[in-house]
């Protein structure tokens, strides 16, 4: 059992030394084996000191990444807050959202340059599609499993995730349709789906890639901010505020909070729990759709596997901030966004960022499973 209760007067000094030595040994080992990843503090310090604007620059692009991650993470965190289930399929709903946004933008502009208003309009189909899809999945795949052990609905969600990923992959097959009907001009834009099913699909460039600081500070300004970054950050802020308003001020939002706190009591108060849960999924999905358009405009491309990495980052953000907590999701996303863009810049490969985010996830879960802002069974949704 607990060894500290045992009389161990013989070893206290040894234990105290061990308490100091153990972290040092761990740090030493990490630095030893972290070198292939580029984890060399000397080089990192030199690089940052040599060019301090890196930090600010990465903070900015980290902020833009965080904006997208926040919006996806809220989808995870809301669903978790209300039914305590990790909705694995959420990331693929997001991925399909990027496809819908892409097809909408390119399809309606018919091969010519997509105007900005069309890109903004793309939020509507993407959000409707993702919200509807998430609600349909909840209704037909998860609802009847809610009374079963949690592992059952998690496995169903995993299966759903695979199905949606395959749909995203197979969408690419339609690129062969224009070849089949070369005379039909109205479908030639499908070429946007890439050469093969799995190849990345480029979004039309809607916002120019210019530095908006140049007109203000002149051409020598060391920092660079592009319009797309500003756009995703503003959009994220709008979405978060709209959601907070919805949850705080509407009847449905109140019902959601009630269900999150105590479904049984909420049902007794006359709240249709099934409907509210369905609504939560729909809103989470709609946010994923919004994030999908933001992602497309900011990153400029998508493919069938973008869901995995972004879902991972978002889930980590939700957990780091304290799952079930919307403010926490935003805070966690900020951390993850900045850390991942810094490590993209400073480590030897962006693959290591993925690994780094996972390590952060594990560390948070092991040492503070409630996250930064979370408290066990406390504030939800």
């Amino acid at each position: 059992m607990d060894k500290s209760l045992a009389p161990s007067t013989a070893m206290p000094s040894f234990r105290r030394v061990g308490k100091i030595l153990l972290p040092i040994a761990i740090i030493y080992l990490v630095l030893l084996f972290g070198q292939p990843a580029g984890l060399e503090p000397g080089r990192l310090i030199r690089e940052i000191l040599g060019n301090p604007t890196i930090l600010v620059q990465q903070l900015i692009s980290g902020l833009a990444n965080a904006a997208i991650v926040t919006i996806i993470a809220i989808g995870y965190t809301m669903v978790y807050g209300i039914v305590e289930m990790v909705n694995f399929a959420h990331s693929s709903v997001f991925m399909l959202g990027t496809m819908v946004a892409l097809l909408f933008m390119v399809g309606l502009s018919g091969g010519v340059r997509t105007p900005l208003w069309l890109a903004i309009l793309a939020f509507i189909p993407a959000m409707l599609f993702c919200g509807g899809l998430n609600a349909v999945i909840e209704r037909f795949a998860y609802r009847s499993l809610r009374k079963q052990p949690k592992i059952v609905s998690m496995i169903a969600a995993l299966g759903m995730d695979f199905i949606l990923q395959n749909v995203g992959l197979q969408l690419g097959s339609f690129v062969k349709l224009p070849n089949a009907f070369p005379d039909n001009q109205s479908i030639q834009w499908l070429a946007v789906l890439g050469n093969q099913a799995a190849s990345p699909k480029a979004f039309p460039q809607v916002l120019d890639s210019v530095n908006i600081l140049e007109p203000i500070f002149g051409p020598d300004v060391p920092l660079r901010i592009v319009p797309a970054e500003v756009m995703v950050i503003i959009t994220a802020i709008i979405l978060v505020f709209a959601l907070t308003w919805f949850i705080g001020n509407t009847r449905a939002g109140k019902a959601m909070r009630a269900v999150a706190q105590n479904p049984a009591a909420a049902a007794m108060m006359g709240i249709d729990v099934d409907r509210i849960i369905n609504l939560t999924y729909a809103i989470g999905g709609a946010l994923a759709g919004g994030a999908a358009v933001m992602y497309g405009l900011y990153k400029g491309n998508t493919s069938w596997d973008v869901g995995f990495v972004n879902g991972l980052y978002s889930f980590t953000a939700a957990v780091v901030g304290g799952i079930g907590n919307i403010k926490g999701a935003a805070l966690g996303a900020l951390m993850i966004g900045v850390i991942s863009s810094l490590s993209n810049q400073l480590l030897t490969s962006s693959d290591w960022s993925k690994a780094l985010v996972f390590v952060i996830l594990v560390l948070v879960l092991v040492f503070k499973p409630t996250g930064i802002l979370g408290s066990e069974g406390g504030e939800k949704a």
Partner: protein, 534 residues
């Protein structure tokens, strides 16, 4: 009408085997017939006339299979793009043998199925499956095996005509995955821990074999055979490495709640291939001296000279895993000086895999009945109660994790040697989910069920979808688009109807449907409470 004659199990057997016969054809009729016989026997009711009834049903279904196979051989096989079916495998004799196999196995299985003594029945079943498994490679490969030209390694060398499809390769892979499914079954089925990164241990086992039984490392040091330690030794190292990784990953994380554990394990499954992918140019310095050198502003070679080098700093960096290119060739097992296993000579591999599978199954079966096995199940059923009864939760879960990882390590080591080539792409997330699907589909907690699940999923993965693709393509090319056979429209429709492209969705669908319809799996675990009354 049909329901009045056949019971539900028999209808399933008919539908399944008719479908298989339709898309397989040729010599495969033998396998389909045996399968049909066993299914009919298992579906036989517990009545007095069960055995004659099964024989009769077997005859009926056998005739159906023969009819469908001859349809396949004469009609479907004339479509473009089909495999050549040797004429020996569509003779009347072949059909009669298949009919006999179907009736014989139906009778035998029904007889065994109706034995009253539980123990006798089990032993008889295992004996029957054992004989089948042993005989499989001898009649699988070719119609008309010539024994005078017999070569144990490559049986098809003795064939007058080779069979149109070789099953033995997929079956060996099926054994490897069955071994993994049994290992995951310990973690997910017995102990109830959802592990979504099980592929990590598979990868670790495979790479241990790849590093210690190939010239990958030795070539860079200048003595190529320094790290060629032989299959029989390294497979134990691989299992130990995987088990150690299980300890390393499990110790900090097994305190977590179930859903968090799933995410964290998913992370491990993702990190291991990333690490493997990036270990293609490793330079390791002593960190403190490197820190000082770099802080002084030295980079590249200057930093290397100013600090203490441990691994691969001067000249070429050490290429441990060859990154995405992968490690190849990995040495095959040797039986002393008598025989060296070869890629493509499947039969010896088959028997090693079979022995590995059987021994592991026996080991896990006994483990389940032991004190620790009962502790796993009690944790799954009620953690609080188990803890109250004095079971150390973390230690018990950790044992499950480690032992589960160990079997994956065995599987990985065998896989690496069998394919002689490993790369990080072979260990992505979908493998974890496929193995999970095997456990879920067959019946988590039940070894027989898990092996059944592994067979079904691997059959779909390695054989069925490929066959379906060929047949659908053939129908499209030969019937629907006969006039514009390779036109752009048919290319489009082909890629849309490519059955193999829906692989992931099918596994996902299996997970969702099983969760909704039968979460306990096809063959549920026989716990004391659920055991059927005698």
């Amino acid at each position: 009408m049909l329901k009045k004659i056949l019971n539900r199990g028999e209808i399933i057997a008919v539908a399944l085997t008719a479908f298989l016969a339709l898309i397989m054809g040729g010599w495969q009729i033998m396998l389909v017939a045996v399968l049909a016989g066993i299914l009919i026997g298992l579906a036989a009711p517990h009545t007095k006339n069960a055995v004659p009834r099964a024989a009769a049903v077997g005859l009926g279904i056998g005739l159906v299979i023969v009819a469908i196979t001859s349809f396949h051989n004469t009609t479907l096989n004339t479509l473009p793009g089909q495999e050549v079916i040797p004429p020996e495998s569509s003779t009347l004799g072949t059909y009669l043998i298949a009919l006999g196999l179907c009736v014989g196995f139906a009778t035998l299985t029904a007889f065994i199925h109706n034995l009253h003594d539980d123990r006798k029945r089990q032993i008889a079943f295992i004996a029957m499956l054992g004989v089948l498994a042993f005989a499989f490679p001898f009649f699988e490969q070719c119609p008309g095996l010539k024994w005078d030209n017999f070569n144990f390694g490559d049986m098809s060398a003795g064939c007058s005509v080779k069979s149109n499809i070789l099953w033995i390769g997929p079956v060996i892979v099926m054994f490897i995955y069955g071994l993994q499914a049994m290992g995951l079954n310990i973690v997910a089925g017995y102990a109830g821990l959802l592990d979504l990164g099980y592929v990590a241990f598979f990868a670790i086992g495979a790479y241990t074999m790849g590093l210690l039984n190939s010239q990958q490392l030795g070539n860079q040091i200048g003595s190529p055979n320094l790290f060629v330690w032989g299959f029989w030794l390294v497979i134990w190292f691989a299992a130990a490495a995987a088990a150690f990784a299980g300890l390393l990953f499990g110790a900090p994380t097994l305190r977590l709640r179930g859903d968090y554990l799933a995410i964290v394990t998913l992370g491990f499954g993702e990190i291991v291939p990333i690490v493997v992918k990036r270990l293609d140019a490793v330079k390791i310095f002593e960190p403190i001296s490197l820190f000082i050198a770099q802080i002084m502003g030295k980079t590249g070679d200057a930093a290397a000279q100013a600090s203490v080098c441990l691994v691969g700093c001067f000249g070429n960096a050490l290429d441990i895993t060859s990154g995405t290119k992968g490690i190849s060739p990995i040495n095959a097992p040797q039986l002393g000086d008598v025989y060296t296993f070869k890629v493509g000579e499947f039969v010896p591999w088959y028997f090693v895999a079979l022995i590995l599978l059987v021994v592991s199954a026996f080991f896990i079966f006994r483990l389940r009945a032991s004190r620790i096995g009962r502790a796993w199940v009690s944790i799954r059923e009620d953690e609080l109660a188990a803890n109250a009864m004095g079971i150390d939760l973390v230690k018990t879960k950790l044992t499950a994790f480690i032992i589960g990882a160990m079997f994956s390590g065995f599987a990985g080591a065998f896989y690496a040697s069998f394919t002689s080539f490993i790369s990080p792409d072979a260990f992505d997330f979908s493998i974890s989910v496929i193995i999970l699907a095997m456990v879920i589909l067959g019946g988590s907690g039940n070894i027989t069920g898990v092996l059944l699940g592994a067979s079904i999923i691997m059959l779909i993965d390695r054989v069925l979808l490929d066959r379906l693709k060929v047949i659908i393509n053939g129908v499209l090319q030969g019937v629907v688009f006969r006039d514009v056979a390779s036109g752009p429209l048919s290319v489009f429709v082909n890629s849309l109807t490519d059955a193999t492209a829906y692989k992931i969705a099918i596994f996902g669908l299996i997970l969702v449907v099983m969760m909704k319809v039968r979460p306990q799996g096809i063959l549920p675990e026989q716990t004391a409470a659920r055991r059927r009354p005698q």
